[in-house]
Symmetry: C2
Protein backbone atom coordinates (compact mmCIF):
# COMPACT_ATOMS: atom_id res chain seq x y z
CA UNK A 1 0.00 0.00 0.00
CA UNK A 2 1.08 3.59 -0.62
CA UNK A 3 2.40 5.35 2.45
CA UNK A 4 2.60 9.11 2.93
CA UNK A 5 4.83 10.85 5.45
CA UNK A 6 3.32 14.25 6.10
CA UNK A 7 1.35 16.77 8.15
CA UNK A 8 -2.32 17.19 7.21
CA UNK A 9 -2.23 20.94 7.88
CA UNK A 10 0.70 21.47 5.48
CA UNK A 11 -0.58 22.58 2.09
CA UNK A 12 2.10 20.57 0.32
CA UNK A 13 0.90 17.44 2.13
CA UNK A 14 -2.79 18.26 1.65
CA UNK A 15 -2.20 18.27 -2.12
CA UNK A 16 -1.22 14.61 -1.91
CA UNK A 17 -4.07 13.69 0.44
CA UNK A 18 -6.65 15.38 -1.81
CA UNK A 19 -5.37 13.68 -4.96
CA UNK A 20 -5.16 10.24 -3.31
CA UNK A 21 -8.77 10.66 -2.25
CA UNK A 22 -9.91 11.82 -5.67
CA UNK A 23 -8.15 8.89 -7.33
CA UNK A 24 -9.66 6.50 -4.77
CA UNK A 25 -6.24 5.22 -3.72
CA UNK A 26 -5.98 3.67 -0.28
CA UNK A 27 -2.96 4.72 1.70
CA UNK A 28 -1.38 4.81 5.12
CA UNK A 29 -0.63 8.26 6.58
CA UNK A 30 2.34 8.67 8.92
CA UNK A 31 2.31 11.99 10.71
CA UNK A 32 5.56 13.97 10.72
CA UNK A 33 5.78 16.95 13.08
CA UNK A 34 8.17 19.43 11.53
CA UNK A 35 8.19 21.65 14.63
CA UNK A 36 9.56 18.63 16.56
CA UNK A 37 12.13 18.28 13.74
CA UNK A 38 10.79 14.83 12.86
CA UNK A 39 11.69 15.60 9.22
CA UNK A 40 15.35 15.95 10.21
CA UNK A 41 15.90 12.63 11.99
CA UNK A 42 18.39 10.17 10.45
CA UNK A 43 15.47 7.83 9.68
CA UNK A 44 13.56 10.51 7.79
CA UNK A 45 16.64 11.83 5.99
CA UNK A 46 17.15 8.31 4.66
CA UNK A 47 13.77 8.73 2.89
CA UNK A 48 14.42 12.30 1.71
CA UNK A 49 17.88 13.73 2.20
CA UNK A 50 16.38 17.20 1.70
CA UNK A 51 14.47 16.79 4.98
CA UNK A 52 11.09 17.96 3.72
CA UNK A 53 7.55 16.62 3.70
CA UNK A 54 5.60 15.14 2.00
CA UNK A 55 7.31 11.91 1.02
CA UNK A 56 5.46 9.11 -0.77
CA UNK A 57 6.61 5.53 -0.45
CA UNK A 58 5.96 4.01 -3.88
CA UNK A 59 7.75 0.70 -3.30
CA UNK A 60 9.27 -0.92 -0.19
CA UNK A 61 12.62 0.77 -0.78
CA UNK A 62 11.57 3.63 -3.05
CA UNK A 63 10.49 7.06 -1.83
CA UNK A 64 9.46 10.10 -3.81
CA UNK A 65 9.77 13.68 -2.53
CA UNK A 66 8.51 17.09 -3.72
CA UNK A 67 4.73 17.49 -3.53
CA UNK A 68 4.24 18.39 -7.19
CA UNK A 69 6.38 15.48 -8.42
CA UNK A 70 4.20 13.23 -6.24
CA UNK A 71 1.04 14.70 -7.81
CA UNK A 72 2.40 14.04 -11.30
CA UNK A 73 3.39 10.49 -10.36
CA UNK A 74 0.00 9.61 -8.88
CA UNK A 75 -2.08 11.15 -11.66
CA UNK A 76 0.15 9.78 -14.45
CA UNK A 77 -1.60 6.43 -14.28
CA UNK A 78 -2.16 5.93 -17.99
CA UNK A 79 -5.84 6.89 -17.84
CA UNK A 80 -6.33 9.92 -20.02
CA UNK A 81 -9.51 10.99 -18.23
CA UNK A 82 -7.68 11.42 -14.95
CA UNK A 83 -5.93 14.47 -13.58
CA UNK A 84 -2.62 14.47 -15.50
CA UNK A 85 -3.40 15.66 -19.02
CA UNK A 86 -2.59 13.50 -22.00
CA UNK A 87 -1.21 15.92 -24.57
CA UNK A 88 2.35 17.23 -24.69
CA UNK A 89 1.45 20.93 -24.58
CA UNK A 90 -1.16 20.39 -21.86
CA UNK A 91 1.33 18.47 -19.73
CA UNK A 92 3.90 21.23 -20.07
CA UNK A 93 1.28 23.86 -19.24
CA UNK A 94 0.30 21.96 -16.09
CA UNK A 95 3.97 21.77 -15.11
CA UNK A 96 4.44 25.48 -15.87
CA UNK A 97 1.84 26.32 -13.23
CA UNK A 98 3.22 23.77 -10.79
CA UNK A 99 6.70 25.31 -11.07
CA UNK A 100 5.09 28.75 -10.73
CA UNK A 101 3.44 27.51 -7.54
CA UNK A 102 6.70 26.33 -5.99
CA UNK A 103 8.82 29.30 -7.09
CA UNK A 104 6.54 32.36 -7.10
CA UNK A 105 3.62 31.42 -4.81
CA UNK A 106 4.50 28.94 -2.06
CA UNK A 107 7.60 30.74 -0.71
CA UNK A 108 5.38 33.76 0.04
CA UNK A 109 1.77 32.65 0.47
CA UNK A 110 2.62 29.45 2.36
CA UNK A 111 5.48 30.92 4.36
CA UNK A 112 3.35 33.82 5.64
CA UNK A 113 0.83 31.26 6.91
CA UNK A 114 3.64 29.23 8.45
CA UNK A 115 4.94 32.25 10.37
CA UNK A 116 1.44 33.13 11.61
CA UNK A 117 -0.10 29.70 12.18
CA UNK A 118 2.83 27.45 13.07
CA UNK A 119 5.22 29.92 14.70
CA UNK A 120 2.53 32.14 16.29
CA UNK A 121 3.73 35.35 14.57
CA UNK A 122 6.70 36.08 16.86
CA UNK A 123 7.90 39.73 16.78
CA UNK A 124 11.35 38.73 15.48
CA UNK A 125 9.66 37.28 12.36
CA UNK A 126 7.50 40.34 11.65
CA UNK A 127 9.84 41.89 9.08
CA UNK A 128 10.18 38.54 7.30
CA UNK A 129 6.37 38.20 7.36
CA UNK A 130 5.84 41.66 5.89
CA UNK A 131 8.30 40.85 3.07
CA UNK A 132 6.00 38.00 1.97
CA UNK A 133 3.02 40.16 1.03
CA UNK A 134 4.40 41.96 -2.03
CA UNK A 135 5.52 38.83 -3.90
CA UNK A 136 2.55 36.84 -2.56
CA UNK A 137 0.02 39.36 -3.87
CA UNK A 138 1.94 39.44 -7.17
CA UNK A 139 1.49 35.66 -7.48
CA UNK A 140 -2.21 35.89 -6.65
CA UNK A 141 -2.56 38.62 -9.29
CA UNK A 142 -0.95 36.36 -11.91
CA UNK A 143 -3.50 33.68 -10.99
CA UNK A 144 -6.36 36.21 -11.11
CA UNK A 145 -5.36 37.36 -14.59
CA UNK A 146 -5.24 33.79 -15.88
CA UNK A 147 -8.54 32.87 -14.23
CA UNK A 148 -10.34 35.90 -15.66
CA UNK A 149 -10.04 34.13 -19.03
CA UNK A 150 -9.83 30.45 -18.07
CA UNK A 151 -11.85 28.14 -15.82
CA UNK A 152 -8.79 26.10 -14.79
CA UNK A 153 -4.99 26.31 -15.13
CA UNK A 154 -4.22 23.74 -17.82
CA UNK A 155 -5.94 21.62 -20.46
CA UNK A 156 -9.24 23.47 -20.02
CA UNK A 157 -10.23 21.30 -17.08
CA UNK A 158 -9.41 20.36 -13.49
CA UNK A 159 -5.89 18.88 -13.28
CA UNK A 160 -3.08 18.43 -10.80
CA UNK A 161 -2.09 22.06 -11.52
CA UNK A 162 -5.32 23.18 -9.85
CA UNK A 163 -4.64 20.92 -6.86
CA UNK A 164 -1.13 22.35 -6.54
CA UNK A 165 -2.36 25.96 -6.56
CA UNK A 166 -5.48 25.41 -4.49
CA UNK A 167 -3.61 23.95 -1.53
CA UNK A 168 -2.08 27.17 -0.18
CA UNK A 169 -4.36 29.65 -1.95
CA UNK A 170 -7.48 28.53 -0.09
CA UNK A 171 -5.78 29.12 3.27
CA UNK A 172 -3.87 32.27 2.24
CA UNK A 173 -6.03 34.34 4.62
CA UNK A 174 -4.48 32.41 7.53
CA UNK A 175 -1.21 34.16 6.67
CA UNK A 176 -2.88 37.56 6.37
CA UNK A 177 -3.71 37.75 2.65
CA UNK A 178 -6.99 39.40 1.68
CA UNK A 179 -8.49 37.06 -0.93
CA UNK A 180 -11.54 39.31 -1.43
CA UNK A 181 -9.39 41.29 -3.89
CA UNK A 182 -9.40 38.33 -6.30
CA UNK A 183 -12.91 37.47 -7.53
CA UNK A 184 -11.74 35.15 -10.31
CA UNK A 185 -9.58 33.24 -7.82
CA UNK A 186 -12.58 32.89 -5.51
CA UNK A 187 -14.79 31.62 -8.34
CA UNK A 188 -12.09 29.09 -9.31
CA UNK A 189 -11.80 27.90 -5.69
CA UNK A 190 -15.54 27.23 -5.74
CA UNK A 191 -15.09 25.18 -8.94
CA UNK A 192 -12.26 23.22 -7.28
CA UNK A 193 -14.43 22.53 -4.22
CA UNK A 194 -17.17 21.34 -6.58
CA UNK A 195 -15.06 18.55 -8.10
CA UNK A 196 -16.05 14.93 -7.38
CA UNK A 197 -14.63 13.53 -4.15
CA UNK A 198 -13.21 16.86 -3.00
CA UNK A 199 -12.07 16.89 0.63
CA UNK A 200 -10.93 19.78 2.79
CA UNK A 201 -7.65 20.20 4.60
CA UNK A 202 -6.94 18.48 7.91
Amino acid sequence: MLRVYGDVFSGNCYKVKLLLHQLGLEHEWRNIDILKRESRTPEFLALNSNGRIPVLQIAPDMHLAESNAILQYLANDGQSDRLWPGGRADQARALQWMFFEQYSHEPYVATARYIVRYLGRPPEQEERLQDKFGPGYAALSVMEKHLEANAFFAAGRYTVADIALYAYTHVAHEGGFDLARFPAVNAWMERVRGQPRHIGMG
Copy 2:
Protein backbone atom coordinates in the same frame (compact mmCIF):
# COMPACT_ATOMS: atom_id res chain seq x y z
CA MET B 1 10.52 27.83 -35.78
CA LEU B 2 10.88 27.75 -32.01
CA ARG B 3 11.65 31.12 -30.46
CA VAL B 4 13.22 31.70 -27.05
CA TYR B 5 13.01 34.93 -25.10
CA GLY B 6 15.93 34.96 -22.69
CA ASP B 7 19.37 36.03 -21.50
CA VAL B 8 22.23 33.65 -22.32
CA PHE B 9 23.98 34.33 -18.99
CA SER B 10 20.87 33.39 -16.99
CA GLY B 11 21.12 29.77 -15.84
CA ASN B 12 17.40 29.26 -16.34
CA CYS B 13 17.77 30.37 -19.97
CA TYR B 14 21.00 28.42 -20.50
CA LYS B 15 19.10 25.23 -19.59
CA VAL B 16 16.86 25.79 -22.60
CA LYS B 17 19.72 26.72 -24.93
CA LEU B 18 21.72 23.62 -23.93
CA LEU B 19 18.77 21.27 -24.43
CA LEU B 20 17.78 22.81 -27.78
CA HIS B 21 21.37 22.27 -28.95
CA GLN B 22 21.51 18.69 -27.69
CA LEU B 23 18.21 17.89 -29.39
CA GLY B 24 19.43 19.56 -32.59
CA LEU B 25 16.45 21.93 -32.67
CA GLU B 26 16.87 25.15 -34.61
CA HIS B 27 15.54 28.21 -32.89
CA GLU B 28 15.56 31.97 -32.84
CA TRP B 29 16.92 33.66 -29.70
CA ARG B 30 15.49 37.02 -28.64
CA ASN B 31 17.56 38.67 -25.96
CA ILE B 32 15.69 40.06 -22.95
CA ASP B 33 17.64 42.34 -20.59
CA ILE B 34 16.11 41.94 -17.14
CA LEU B 35 18.16 44.81 -15.69
CA LYS B 36 16.52 47.08 -18.26
CA ARG B 37 13.18 45.58 -17.12
CA GLU B 38 12.51 44.20 -20.58
CA SER B 39 10.72 41.27 -18.91
CA ARG B 40 8.19 43.70 -17.40
CA THR B 41 7.01 45.50 -20.54
CA PRO B 42 3.36 45.10 -21.57
CA GLU B 43 4.54 43.17 -24.65
CA PHE B 44 6.53 40.70 -22.58
CA LEU B 45 3.84 40.36 -19.90
CA ALA B 46 1.45 39.32 -22.67
CA LEU B 47 3.76 36.31 -23.23
CA ASN B 48 4.27 35.53 -19.53
CA SER B 49 2.17 37.42 -17.02
CA ASN B 50 4.66 36.38 -14.32
CA GLY B 51 7.31 38.58 -16.01
CA ARG B 52 10.13 36.04 -15.96
CA ILE B 53 12.50 34.54 -18.51
CA PRO B 54 12.87 32.18 -20.28
CA VAL B 55 9.75 31.95 -22.40
CA LEU B 56 9.46 29.52 -25.31
CA GLN B 57 7.14 30.24 -28.20
CA ILE B 58 5.76 26.82 -29.20
CA ALA B 59 3.13 28.06 -31.66
CA PRO B 60 2.35 31.50 -33.12
CA ASP B 61 0.06 32.36 -30.22
CA MET B 62 1.27 29.90 -27.60
CA HIS B 63 4.04 30.61 -25.12
CA LEU B 64 5.41 28.42 -22.37
CA ALA B 65 7.11 29.77 -19.24
CA GLU B 66 9.13 28.20 -16.39
CA SER B 67 12.49 26.82 -17.46
CA ASN B 68 11.92 23.30 -16.15
CA ALA B 69 8.48 23.02 -17.78
CA ILE B 70 10.16 24.08 -21.04
CA LEU B 71 12.81 21.36 -20.60
CA GLN B 72 10.11 18.75 -20.05
CA TYR B 73 8.16 19.95 -23.08
CA LEU B 74 11.15 19.88 -25.42
CA ALA B 75 12.48 16.51 -24.29
CA ASN B 76 9.02 14.89 -24.17
CA ASP B 77 9.13 14.26 -27.92
CA GLY B 78 8.03 10.64 -27.88
CA GLN B 79 11.52 9.28 -28.45
CA SER B 80 12.38 7.14 -25.46
CA ASP B 81 16.14 7.47 -26.03
CA ARG B 82 16.03 11.20 -25.54
CA LEU B 83 16.35 13.19 -22.35
CA TRP B 84 12.89 12.84 -20.77
CA PRO B 85 12.73 9.31 -19.33
CA GLY B 86 10.03 6.90 -20.47
CA GLY B 87 8.94 5.19 -17.25
CA ARG B 88 6.48 6.57 -14.72
CA ALA B 89 8.80 6.34 -11.70
CA ASP B 90 11.76 7.73 -13.66
CA GLN B 91 9.68 10.68 -14.88
CA ALA B 92 8.57 11.47 -11.33
CA ARG B 93 12.15 11.17 -10.07
CA ALA B 94 13.35 13.60 -12.75
CA LEU B 95 10.59 16.02 -11.73
CA GLN B 96 11.45 15.57 -8.04
CA TRP B 97 14.95 16.89 -8.74
CA MET B 98 13.66 19.66 -10.99
CA PHE B 99 11.30 20.87 -8.23
CA PHE B 100 14.19 20.56 -5.76
CA GLU B 101 16.24 22.75 -8.09
CA GLN B 102 13.63 25.49 -8.24
CA TYR B 103 12.69 25.43 -4.54
CA SER B 104 15.84 24.51 -2.61
CA HIS B 105 18.73 25.35 -4.96
CA GLU B 106 18.00 28.19 -7.40
CA PRO B 107 16.68 30.75 -4.86
CA TYR B 108 20.04 30.55 -3.05
CA VAL B 109 22.74 29.41 -5.50
CA ALA B 110 21.43 31.45 -8.43
CA THR B 111 20.42 34.48 -6.40
CA ALA B 112 23.87 34.78 -4.78
CA ARG B 113 25.36 34.85 -8.29
CA TYR B 114 22.77 37.41 -9.37
CA ILE B 115 23.67 39.73 -6.48
CA VAL B 116 27.39 39.41 -7.21
CA ARG B 117 27.46 39.23 -11.01
CA TYR B 118 24.42 41.23 -12.13
CA LEU B 119 24.10 43.74 -9.28
CA GLY B 120 27.84 44.10 -8.57
CA ARG B 121 27.55 43.07 -4.89
CA PRO B 122 26.26 46.39 -3.53
CA PRO B 123 26.75 46.85 0.26
CA GLU B 124 23.01 47.08 0.88
CA GLN B 125 22.61 43.54 -0.52
CA GLU B 126 25.41 42.04 1.60
CA GLU B 127 23.15 40.70 4.35
CA ARG B 128 20.82 39.19 1.76
CA LEU B 129 23.84 37.65 0.01
CA GLN B 130 25.16 36.12 3.23
CA ASP B 131 21.73 34.58 3.93
CA LYS B 132 22.04 32.60 0.67
CA PHE B 133 25.07 30.53 1.70
CA GLY B 134 23.50 28.34 4.41
CA PRO B 135 20.57 27.07 2.31
CA GLY B 136 22.73 27.04 -0.85
CA TYR B 137 25.37 24.82 0.74
CA ALA B 138 22.59 22.62 2.14
CA ALA B 139 21.26 22.09 -1.41
CA LEU B 140 24.75 21.33 -2.75
CA SER B 141 25.17 18.81 0.10
CA VAL B 142 21.93 17.07 -0.87
CA MET B 143 23.27 16.81 -4.44
CA GLU B 144 26.65 15.55 -3.18
CA LYS B 145 25.02 12.80 -1.13
CA HIS B 146 22.93 11.65 -4.09
CA LEU B 147 25.91 11.76 -6.46
CA GLU B 148 28.13 9.75 -4.11
CA ALA B 149 25.90 6.79 -4.99
CA ASN B 150 24.53 7.72 -8.43
CA ALA B 151 26.09 8.88 -11.70
CA PHE B 152 23.09 11.07 -12.61
CA PHE B 153 19.90 12.33 -10.94
CA ALA B 154 17.18 10.17 -12.50
CA ALA B 155 16.74 7.04 -14.58
CA GLY B 156 20.43 6.08 -14.20
CA ARG B 157 21.45 8.32 -17.07
CA TYR B 158 21.71 11.90 -18.30
CA THR B 159 18.25 13.54 -18.38
CA VAL B 160 16.66 16.97 -18.17
CA ALA B 161 17.07 16.77 -14.39
CA ASP B 162 20.85 16.96 -14.88
CA ILE B 163 20.47 19.93 -17.23
CA ALA B 164 18.25 21.71 -14.67
CA LEU B 165 20.75 21.22 -11.85
CA TYR B 166 23.90 21.79 -13.89
CA ALA B 167 22.85 25.26 -15.07
CA TYR B 168 23.42 27.16 -11.82
CA THR B 169 25.69 24.63 -10.08
CA HIS B 170 28.50 25.01 -12.59
CA VAL B 171 28.59 28.77 -12.04
CA ALA B 172 27.93 28.68 -8.28
CA HIS B 173 31.48 29.95 -7.62
CA GLU B 174 30.47 33.22 -9.34
CA GLY B 175 28.17 33.83 -6.36
CA GLY B 176 30.86 32.89 -3.85
CA PHE B 177 30.23 29.18 -3.31
CA ASP B 178 33.29 26.95 -2.85
CA LEU B 179 32.58 23.93 -5.05
CA ALA B 180 35.86 22.24 -4.05
CA ARG B 181 33.97 20.93 -1.01
CA PHE B 182 31.85 18.69 -3.27
CA PRO B 183 33.96 16.10 -5.13
CA ALA B 184 30.99 14.04 -6.30
CA VAL B 185 29.32 17.16 -7.70
CA ASN B 186 32.52 18.01 -9.56
CA ALA B 187 32.79 14.50 -11.02
CA TRP B 188 29.13 14.71 -12.12
CA MET B 189 29.73 18.11 -13.76
CA GLU B 190 32.54 16.50 -15.76
CA ARG B 191 30.13 13.77 -16.87
CA VAL B 192 27.58 16.40 -17.90
CA ARG B 193 30.24 18.28 -19.90
CA GLY B 194 31.15 14.98 -21.57
CA GLN B 195 27.66 14.45 -23.03
CA PRO B 196 27.25 14.62 -26.82
CA ARG B 197 26.71 18.14 -28.15
CA HIS B 198 27.35 19.82 -24.80
CA ILE B 199 27.76 23.59 -25.02
CA GLY B 200 28.81 26.07 -22.36
CA MET B 201 26.94 29.10 -21.09
CA GLY B 202 26.91 32.37 -22.96
